[in-house]
Amino acid sequence: MNPIRWDLGEGLIVRTYLAGDAQELFDLIDANRERLRPWMIWEPQTRSVADSLAFIQRSTSSATDMEGNGVWLDGVLIAGVGLGIDTMSNSGEIGYWIDGGHEGKGIVTRVCQRFFDFAFDELGLHRMELQAATDNARSRAIAERLGMTQEGVARDGIRVAAGYLDSVSYAILEDEWRARRVPA
């Protein structure tokens, strides 16, 4: 897919990773290991800058998915967002993580809103999904702020370092997203 670059204002930039971001990406993951480990299987799999570089190269070479995007605040990488696209069902799946020092400020929610606009307006998708572990209260709160509907729980649907976690499925449909954007 073509790279993205969005200026969200207030110093926030969202853009597709470049190979030159590998060191900064690895350093941010390395600084957040304890927080990421309970939820993200890629945390223990990211052991060196080379692993981050491989992720960037793999994710940016996909013909359909846009898994490798970073969020910069005043020029400093603070979060990652991935968008997977299922062309068979014309739907997308979003995933995210953020540096511990920057959570609780609504940044991920704002970034996801921009991704949803992109997914529905520019990619023409029909549905956006989010999977969050049952106990990941912060992630689930973002899904709810985005107006997503909880649709079910895939038991043991997420593999993490410690084993398997139940995965809550959230989704929002194109018409629901459009209705939210228009003030009543």
Partner: protein, 185 residues
């Protein structure tokens, strides 16, 4: 797909991957069932001739992890298809199947699905299998129940079907521990 997969399903039925030699037979069966299948599967719209089926088989040959692109054969006759797609990092597989109308009601989808589930838990190291079926696709849902899969939710508009329409999908799941209990009983 796994070119050397071959599982006897009993009663003269066999599950094995398609080869390009099967493209004509596959197209004929899909074409004869077009209206039925288009209610649940968007790929019916992509099936325009034998060469479109050969191209699909070719596109699946690069995925050597999944147990997919399999036909269910009764004698020399193609009765349907059954797939278990393995993708991602969650040790989870996705089951899918369809049947020619003449072969519905003989338990073929259940037997083929059970064979692939057994295989993925016994020797592929999977932890979970799921199946998504149209809310109104009662035959598919009955197969999920016969397989002792558990209903986990309804995914709204998650299934793209023929004619550019969308249907709600019921998601069913089975975890390896539950499968062991099922097989024992």
């Amino acid at each position: 797909m796994r070119p050397d997969l071959r599982i006897e399903l009993g009663g003269g039925a066999v599950l094995r991957p398609f080869t390009t030699d099967d493209a004509e037979a596959l197209f004929r069966v899909i074409d004869a069932n077009r209206t039925r299948l288009a209610r649940w599967f968007h790929w019916v719209d992509d099936s325009t001739d034998a060469s479109s089926q050969a191209a699909w088989m070719d596109s699946r040959s690069g995925d050597q992890r999944s147990l997919d692109a399999n036909g269910i054969w009764v004698g020399d006759e193609l009765a349907g298809g059954c797939d278990l797609v393995i993708a991602g990092t969650d040790d989870s597989g996705e089951l899918g199947f369809w049947l020619d109308e003449a072969f519905v009601g003989r338990g073929l989808a259940t037997r083929a699905s059970q064979a692939l589930i057994n295989r993925c838990f016994e020797s592929e190291g999977l932890h979970r299998v799921q199946l998504r079926a149209g809310v109104d696709n009662l035959r598919s849902r009955a197969v999920a129940k016969r397989l002792n899969m558990r209903e986990e939710g309804v995914l709204r508009g998650a299934g793209k079907v023929g004619g550019g329409l969308y249907v709600d999908l019921v998601i069913y799941g089975q975890i390896v521990d539950e499968w062991r209990m099922t097989v024992r009983s």
